[in-house]
């Protein structure tokens, strides 16, 4: 990982936020050093609009990058390496929809809360470049939903440096991945079913799924009382019960949502995030009361979420915003450019969501939900230089992503609009 910040950063920040005079431009331009080995990671980018996701929009400003980190953000005209219409932070995909294949989940039991997906990653896959091209610089990767409690997701950068764990994985033990609904039971068959193979295992129904979930948590509670009793992953479950680890539960249709909220209440789990949320409007009160956060399934044109055919109207995010519910938007791994993470805020805005909230819902909010908001998710001094460059005002149908920077490296060059 790239370490430290240029010592002069603080100073320059101060200098330029006060509006830089032409005199100092030279010094600034001069300080953009080019480290010879490896791709260039120091830049000065100027823009008409900089949406920092810290609540402020800088009109006519610059972002200064040193060694892959943001060293200064400010207003004022200065000589930069290149100019773009608008800058937003790199987008953060926090839904677990980015499937990395069935070998990402350990199926020896239907409840494996302690198994991390880390070793299941294929960092060489071209999918990361695809996400990067569409503006996603940080993504959550979770085990496939073959298990009720699938294990521990990780947070990866989609580019920058080498495709190695050191360079790309910025957080492990993000939380515990759980799934309601039909996925965990799909393909399973009763014991007397298939003779060979793991699939003669529970659960086979929604009620089975819920049963497995409750059994695991009851066992955890029992383990707290009874010292002789324990099971694999008990510590992890206890961390969840204690609120040290968030619990990500996939629950799109109404009944799964209610099941998830019910379990949250039953075990008074402090920190629950509903993933692939869809039919929340009919249960708005319950959602608000539960205090759970939401990750919306992708908004699609026919108002139907790709997850379990649940209905997802475009005003749902706006509706939740009014009720003060914390939520993020997601694109999962949809191949359809119209539903990419860069487009989701636009759809939500069309559904009535405030543009500022829309921006936060794909940057800083998901970063918080994943616990990496100290590294990414906004344009602030010291954070990773993960930036998305836009042809116009971001999240409008009439503008699109022209460039992407990750860890200070230009993955997509806005000056040519092609990959370097």
């Amino acid at each position: 990982m790239l370490l430290g910040t240029a010592p002069i950063a603080a100073a320059t920040l101060a200098a330029f936020t006060l509006g830089a005079g032409p005199a100092t431009d030279a010094t600034l331009a001069a300080t953009t050093v080019q480290d010879d080995d490896g791709p260039r990671t120091s830049w000065i980018v100027t823009a008409d609009e900089i949406h920092t996701a810290t609540g402020r929009v800088i009109e006519g400003g610059f972002v200064r990058i040193g060694d892959g980190k943001i060293t200064a953000v400010g207003r004022g005209k200065i000589a930069g390496d290149f100019h773009v219409a608008a800058i937003t932070p790199g987008l953060v995909e926090c839904s677990s929809g980015l499937s990395v294949g069935q070998r990402s989940v350990e199926q020896d039991s239907e409840s494996t809360p302690h198994v991390s997906v880390e070793e299941g990653l294929d960092l060489f896959s071209t999918r990361w470049e695809r996400e990067l091209r569409r503006g996603v610089t940080t993504a959550c990767v979770a085990p496939d939903d073959r298990n009720v409690l699938g294990g521990l997701p990780v947070v990866v950068k989609t580019g920058g440096g080498e495709p190695t764990m050191d360079d790309r994985v910025i957080k492990t033990r993000v939380g515990v991945r759980a799934a309601m609904g039909s996925e965990p039971s799909a393909g399973n068959s009763p014991v007397f079913g298939r003779a060979f193979g793991l699939f003669n295992r529970r659960p086979t129904t929604r009620m089975g799924v819920e049963w497995v979930f409750r059994r695991t948590f009851y066992d955890a509670l029992r383990a707290q009382q009874d010292d002789d009793f324990t099971f694999e992953g008990v510590e992890t479950v206890n961390q969840v019960l204690a609120g040290e680890l968030p619990l990500f539960i996939q629950a799109a249709p109404r009944q799964d949502l209610m099941t998830a909220l019910g379990l949250k209440a039953e075990f008074s789990i402090p920190n629950v995030v509903i993933d692939a949320a869809a039919e929340v409007i009919p249960e708005a009160d319950a959602v608000v009361a539960s205090g759970a956060s939401l990750i919306f399934a992708p908004l699609e044109f026919d108002g139907t979420a790709s997850v379990e055919g649940a209905q997802l109207p475009w005003n749902a995010p706006a509706h939740m915003a009014e009720l003060g519910v914390t939520f993020a938007l997601s694109a999962r791994s949809t191949g359809n450019a119209d539903y990419s993470l860069a487009m989701q805020p636009a759809h939500a805005i069309r559904g009535g969501l405030d543009p500022v909230k829309a921006l936060e819902a794909v940057t800083i909010v998901p970063a918080r939900l994943l616990g990496v908001d100290d590294l990414v998710g906004s344009i602030e001094q010291g954070k990773h230089a993960d930036l998305v460059f836009w042809s116009g005002a971001p999240f409008q149908y009439t503008s699109s992503v022209t460039g992407v920077m990750v860890g200070g490296e230009l993955a997509v060059d806005p000056r040519h609009g092609e990959e370097l």
């Binding site: 071209t126 695809r130 409007i281 209905q311 119209d338 409008q396």
Partner: protein, 464 residues
């Protein structure tokens, strides 16, 4: 709840089907007054001309006058629609669609005798969506799963019978250079070639028979010693720019030509426009070559999948208009490195000077205004994008004098938008089709389900 889950979609759909009958149709019929006045804070006459605070006078289903308020004479008895908060925009033109039909594809390879009239379904949700999206004219053609398909039809998404909907019947003929299911590029080309070979042999055959018949009659007369009055030509001579021709076709009354070959003859004589499907660059070559050899290149419009951009120079050379379907950005994966490259297709067409239209037949089945907005997002100018969903399709349909702008004399297809035509938050509020008020968003139940989260079941109940 559990049992309901799988059927939730159907429920929604049913609800809307009812909605359609209740909303779209009646307003359309109810609209009897011969004239209508539309007021708008802004009237987009076409991509170049805009009028602030304008009025638009409709008479007999056409635009009688358009201009600044006060500068245009407004008939006192005409009802008034709109207001300063609206933007008036020409009705979007769907240059090509294989939707809105009960079954869009026919199994027979060569079936020019078909007509979409027989499969258009007036209460199909698609026509409802058209109104919701401000599309006022649709060129309904048979699906691409054919070699030579049947006649299409220009319709407006209003009315409960096909006749009511019809703008222009028996319009266009569909051909496909892309292999239909069960065929490959090679066999598709073979079947296509054979279809025209057969036409030609058929025509040669009937002409030859007529000649032989004539000769026989003459000899008979000679033998019987009577004078034979020369018969006058009953038909029309073969008029085509095809690389082949038929002498003596004038001997054959056109009525005598059979129902399969007739439409093809019309095609090669350039009497009917051709909509030629292409799945890839190769299909483009086959399509252009076929059209050239058989004399209907001038009347050909290509319906293109994204990958066809690779044949852009051939298209430009042939000078035919195109209709783009599918995603605007074509992604290609290098077979060796697995690296992906993206191409914004419309830019290629623009730079080659190709006349292109957009269609809503798209991966996301979204609206034309959305397509236009995204096109701007990817780098077209606003004008180019708006043209591609208004005047360009109108040209492609040979209806430039009737559709695509709000100019005087044009059909009164008007969309009242809540804001700028390409803005993310803009909604289609009202749609006027040929002077009739056909859509009102406030009375659209499906819209409430899709975008405002209304419960489809409540809807069902309220509908009865």
């Amino acid at each position: 709840m559990l049992t309901l889950e799988p059927t939730r979609l159907k429920a929604a759909v049913r609800a809307c089907a009812l909605g359609a009958a209740l909303v779209a149709a009646p307003t359309a019929l109810a609209q009897t007054s011969d004239s209508l006045v539309i007021e708008a804070g802004r009237i987009v006459v076409d991509s170049q001309t805009e009028i602030e605070d304008g009025v638009l006078v409709i008479q007999g289903g056409r635009v009688a006058a358009v201009g600044k308020r006060g500068e245009v004479e407004v008939p006192w008895e005409a009802p008034v629609l709109g207001g300063p908060e609206f933007t008036a925009f020409p009705g979007f033109v769907e240059a090509y669609s294989a939707r809105g039909m009960d079954r869009a594809n026919e199994r027979i390879d060569v079936a020019p005798f078909l007509d979409v009239r027989d499969s258009i379904d007036p209460i199909n949700l698609y026509f409802q969506d058209c109104l919701r999206w401000g599309i006022t004219t649709v060129n309904v053609q048979q699906g691409p799963d054919c070699v030579i398909g049947g006649r299409g039809r220009l319709v407006k998404p209003v009315g409960i019978t096909i006749d009511e909907m019809t703008v222009r019947p028996g319009y266009g003929l569909v051909l496909s250079a892309a292999p239909k299911s069960g065929l490959s590029r090679a066999t598709q080309a073979g079947t296509m070639r054979e279809a025209f070979g057969e036409l030609r042999r058929y025509l040669e055959g009937i002409v030859q028979d007529a000649k032989d018949g004539g000769d026989y009659a003459r000899r008979e007369a000679l033998a019987q010693g009577r004078e034979l009055e020369g018969e006058a030509a009953k038909g029309r001579p073969f008029q085509s720019t095809a690389s082949w021709s038929i002498d003596g076709l004038e001997m054959i009354p056109r009525g005598a030509i059979d129902g399969k070959q007739g439409p093809l003859l019309d095609l090669v004589e350039g009497r009917v426009p051709a909509f030629f499907h292409c799945g890839g660059p190769h299909d483009v070559h086959l399509a252009l070559e076929t059209a050239k050899q058989n004399g209907f290149l001038e009347r050909t419009t290509l319906v293109l999948q994204p990958e066809c951009w690779k044949a852009a120079s051939a298209i430009a050379e042939a000078g035919v208009p195109v209709i783009h379907t599918g995603p605007m950005v074509h992604t290609e994966t290098d077979p060796v490195t697995g690296e992906e490259t993206e191409t914004f297709v419309l830019e290629v067409y623009r730079d080659k000077g190709i006349d292109f239209s957009l269609s809503s037949q798209n991966s996301s089945t979204s609206s034309l205004w959305y397509q236009a907005a995204r096109a701007v997002g990817h780098g077209l100018t606003r004008e180019q994008a708006i043209d591609a969903v208004t005047v360009a399709p109108a040209r492609a349909l040979g209806m430039a004098d009737h559709l695509g702008t709000l100019g005087e004399g044009r059909l009164a297809n008007v969309v009242l938008l809540s804001g700028d035509p390409l803005a993310t938050t803009t909604m289609v509020e009202h749609v006027i089709v040929e002077g009739a008020h056909a859509y009102d968003r406030s009375k659209d139940p499906r819209n409430q389900i899709l975008f405002e989260g209304a419960d489809p079941l409540d809807n069902l109940r309220s509908d009865g």
